[in-house]
Each structure stands twice: as C-alpha cells, then as structure tokens.
Point group: C2
DNA sequence: CTGAAAGCGCTTACAG
DNA sequence: CTGAAAGCGCTTACAG
C-alpha cells in the first residue's frame, strides 16, 4: 500500500536510521489507514529474542516468603512458554556482600532484568546503581529502595498499610480503651518503620484513648516472638490489642492464645499465609493486611519485560493493592 | 534427535491420529530428554489463528458498569497485540429477548467465546445452552448463572460478600444497638438476594442487638433511592447503620448526609467507583466491598482463551477476591 | 504411517 | 536510502 518493501516498513516501524522522511510519511499513512498493529509474537520469533530475568530474594523462612517464592515459581513456569527464563537467587540472611558480589557485576549481556527484594542498605543501593549503569532494568520488590535508581517499585505503600491497620484496630476496639502491643521482626526494617508510623498516626488522630506501646522485636523467630509477647502481655494488664507489623504470626498467636484475659485482645497481622488464614478461621486473629504475591510476581515480570521492549506500563494494572482480609472474605479455593 | 521429520513431531505434539506407538515413544523420549517446550506464539502464527470474543453486558449507567466497561476496553486494546479481537454488545435494560436474538444464534464459526453478564432468566439460560451446544465456550461475568451450562463463572461469591459487609457493620457499630437499613436496586436480583442472606446470617449469629430492616428498592435511580431512603431514616429514629447491597451510592449518600441525627449511621456499600471513593474520603461512607474490574475482564479473557486452546486454567490466578476498601487503603493512583 | 515444502508475520544481514 | 532473500519455530495440505 505504501509502495515500499517489507524491509523499509520494518525500518519505519522500529524507527531505524536511514529512511527518507517522505518514505516514512508514506508508510505511516498506510499504517494508520489500514489500522495496522504489528504482531509482537511474530516479531519476537523473527528476532529470536529470549528474555532472562533474575529474582533476588532473601533466604527467609517465613510463611509470606514461601508464598512469594511459590508465586515466582508459578510465574517462571508460565514464562517458559513465552520465550522467557526466570531464575531465582536466594541471598543468605542479610548477607549483602553476597548479594553485591553475585548481582552487582551482571551486565546486559548476562541478564535482561533484575527484581530485587532486600533491605535498603548502601551495598544494595550500589549493586542497583551498577546494574542500572550497565543498562540492566531493575525493579524493587515488596521492600522499596526509594533512594536507589531502580526503575520501578512493585509493592504496597507501607505507611498506608499501617494506617489501614490502625483504623481497623481503632474501629474494632469500639469504645474500649487501653494499650496496644506492637510487634515487629526488626526495628531496622524500613517496612516495619513505615507501618508503625502509619499505625500511630491514625491512633493519635482518631483514637486517642488507645495507646500504642514501643515496638518489640521478634527477630523472625516464632519461639522468641512468643516469649517477648508473653512478657509484654503480663507486664500490661490493660492490653486491648496486638498489632503485628511483621513479626511471626505463629509466635504472636501462641502468646495471645496462652494469655488469660477477660476479653481477648483485638489482633491484627500482616501478610496472609496458611497459618494466618487458620488463625482468622479460628477467631484468634481479627484482620490481616496483605498484598497478593501472585500479582506482585506477575507485575514484576511485566514491568521488566516492558522495560526491555520499550513498551509502556499500564499503571492501573501494576498498582498493588493493600488487601484487607477477615474471616468472611478469606479466599475459598487455593 | 528422534530421527523423524518435523511433521511427525507436530503430530505427536498435538496428539493427532496416525502415528505408530513406537514413533510416538521415540518422539516423547526426545522431548523429555531435551526439556523441549513448544513455542505457542510460533504455533499460533503458523496456524494463523485469531480469536474473536464477545462480551455481553447490560446497558446500565451505574458507576460500577462504567468501570467494568473501561476495564473491558483496556483488555480489548491489549488483546489486539495478541491476535485476539474483543467486541462488546450492550443489551438494553433487561431486554432479554434482544440478548437471545443477538447472541443465541451465534455459532463457533461466528465467535470463539462469549462472556455474559445478565440477570438469570430462562431466556438467558437458553441462549447459553444454545451457544454451548454449538461448541462456543461461555463464561458468566459478575452475576453467576449457576443453573446454566456456562463453562466458568468470573466473579465473587455474593453470599460471602454479604457476610463480609455484615461483619464490618457489626464490628464498626461496636456496642451500639438499633436498626440497619438495607437498600438494594431490585429485590429480584440474585446477587442482591445472596448478599442480603449473608449479611443477615452474620448479624443474627454475632450481633443480635442489631436488627436489619426489610430491603428497600432503589430501582437504579439515584433520585428515587434518595427519596425512599429518607423516608426510611425518618420512620425509624434508631437507625444506626445503612447497608447498600447495590443501590445507587449517590442516592443513599445524599439521604444519609441530609439526615439529621446525633451520630452518623455506619454506611457500607458495594462496588468501588469514583463516587464511592469520594464518599470514603469524606468520611460519609465507612467501607466498600468490591471486586476488581480489571482482574475480572482479564480473567474472563484468559479463561475463554484457555477453553479455545484446550489448556488448563490456573485456579488461584482466576480467583476473584472480595476486596474491602476503607479510606486508608483506597488505591492511590488510577 | 511418514516426510518435503510452503507459509504464518516479522527481522536481519547483505547487496546495491 | 531501499529491496530481495533467508530464517525464526511452528502447522498445513499434499504426496507417497
């Protein structure tokens, strides 16, 4: 229709150099007249393009990580049918040197994109900067790296998540007043800090009769978590609520169930898992604030892919929602 | 590797007739040894296969439908790059004869799959049966057609959604007792009935001090909804809550805001929209139970596609969650 | 029961 | 600056 060869159409489509403006115009006129849309599958086939992405995750044993890794494995499996290979690298607990040595040196010849979940440290930031400098797209996963040059963050706004927890805590307590125990895995973690900030903000503003206690650390260890929680429950007789912003749900639940009090405290947790679903069912846990791991894994892949292909990202599709789960809206089938 | 031609490999891959068992074995041995996965994109290209799907929706003007239609349009747009064409047919308000005449006669030569959203009636059921008989996959959307031969339902369990609303209503009311107004668009609608059943069940079981009034009908008309709601609010001085299981949020909110009462009633609504998000922001509305229209549209397409290709559906990916939205976890960007 | 050849819509050297 | 031809991984008639 434009009176040119396929090769020239290809040049125009891909905005390659060396085509006369007049020819470009002819081709583009034909394109819009025909309503032509290029078949990306055929294009990828001809290019013989394959994608290779790396997911870097901490080597944690929590339930949420099991879920996240399962979702990533699922995504990796279905990606195989789409000319893309997904590898996962588990970083030994907080060993950022390991991360830097294994990831920091990758170039665009080794890998087409990296998704990183790690606490924000200078070492991680440098690794991301290195990847970026060598043209490798990087997305941060679950925990943001706001001060790095990552291309995109796949996860929730933890301050809002904390606010959500605070509002539910306040409303579920109704007229009751007293203290709320706040448990985190580590006080260093940015995610925990942000959740805590949001939580406190809502209590201060809307529920001044409720007092949140200083955070206690569970150190990602169920037994230790249970122990420090028991101690806290014993120390304050007027505890009316427990907010676990990331501590082991099994440990916290054990302490709550083992504690003898006239009215069970309202218990709110983060990250839905088999364990927390069970506690919701049994009425030990009142609400879970969570994020969908399947959505996170798929979104990370779509964003990395879009960066490689230089195609736009649909923002609304990649927005990760803050999910509220109570017993009544617990997902039925899994 | 198997010592056969491409054509024979193709026969084995697609389980076509006329290959000796011995040859099949050789090919399959090679496949598993090589870890071969077929490139579906190349296969579709060679087949020159395109897909044509039809979305049938009621011609309603509610905010939720605007959202749903926007999501379907988005999906249709991105489907164009994937050799699939998506058309939308709007059925004039409850005109099931129109639906039957336009959809009932389609065959697998006309269309590769149909997604239907409609109230459950014999006419609709017959149309679905006809499509099914002629080999056209059908999914029901948002409103289920449990007594039809639809292949799949894309949407939430409305009884659980009603239970979720009931639990939030009860908990948000704390110790307050009194009456709750329940507003629906129509008492005929199965979705509304199911929500009501779930809502009542939870109140009866956990909050006996709260009494839900008989449903009032808003007829999908904001002005009429506001009017009947005002009447109800005036009639019962001890109203402590309003549950809108599908009535116009604008109408209900207008009545609630216009009513003079010492304590504002707890107001819970279904289906997030720009309007309900605004009411949440302003503190008029306390919670919205909703379902993600983007997920619904994409899921419908994936399921129809899987039916055509005879590939399995990943259940967990297609599960539509019952979302709870309060002011604090309202999606930020759109 | 099996294979050779053409073709799906694109891209990539290469030639001019 | 432009085009002819080969090729990406598969499927589809057709021939034997």
């Amino acid at each position: 229709m434009a009176g040119v060869s396929l090769a020239t159409v290809d040049r125009v489509l891909n905005a390659r150099q060396g085509v006369r403006q007049k020819t470009i115009n002819k081709v583009q006129a034909a394109i819009s007249e025909l309503g032509y849309v290029r078949d990306t599958a055929a294009a990828n086939l001809a290019r013989n393009r394959t994608y290779k992405f790396l997911f870097v995750l901490p080597d944690w044993k929590g339930q949420f990580f099991k879920e996240l890794r399962r979702s990533i494995d699922e995504v990796a499996e279905s990606a195989r049918y789409d000319r893309t290979e997904v590898e996962t690298l588990l970083v030994p607990n907080h060993d950022h040197t390991f991360l830097a040595s294994r990831v920091g040196g990758l170039t665009s010849r080794d890998i087409d994109g990296v998704a990183i979940m790690a606490n924000e440290t200078p070492v991680v930031r440098d690794a991301i900067a290195g990847l970026h400098a060598r043209g490798v797209p990087v997305v941060s996963l679950v925990s943001d790296q706001p001060n790095s040059v990552r291309d995109h963050f796949v996860g929730i706004d933890n301050t809002s998540a904390g606010r959500t927890a605070g509002m539910l805590m306040g409303r579920f307590l109704g007229d009751r007043s007293g203290k709320v125990i706040v448990a985190v895995s580590s006080k260093q973690s940015r995610d925990m800090l942000e959740r805590r900030i949001g939580f406190d903000e809502i209590l201060r503003k809307h529920f001044p009769k409720i007092q949140a206690l200083p955070s206690i650390e569970g150190r990602e260890d169920p037994a230790h978590t249970e122990q420090v929680l028991r101690r806290s429950l014993d120390a304050y007789p007027d505890v009316v609520g427990v907010y676990s912003a990331g501590a082991s749900v099994v440990g916290v639940a054990a302490a709550v169930m083992g504690h003898d009090s006239p009215i069970r405290p309202i218990f709110i947790d983060h990250e839905l898992s088999d364990a927390s679903a069970d506690f919701l069912q049994r009425g030990v846990l009142d609400a879970v604030i969570t994020q969908n791991t399947g959505h996170i894994a798929r979104s990370a892949l779509r964003v990395l892919r879009a960066r490689c292909d230089n195609t736009p990202v649909i923002r609304s599709q990649e927005y990760i929602r803050i999910d509220i789960v109570i017993r009544e809206n617990l997902p039925k089938q899994e």
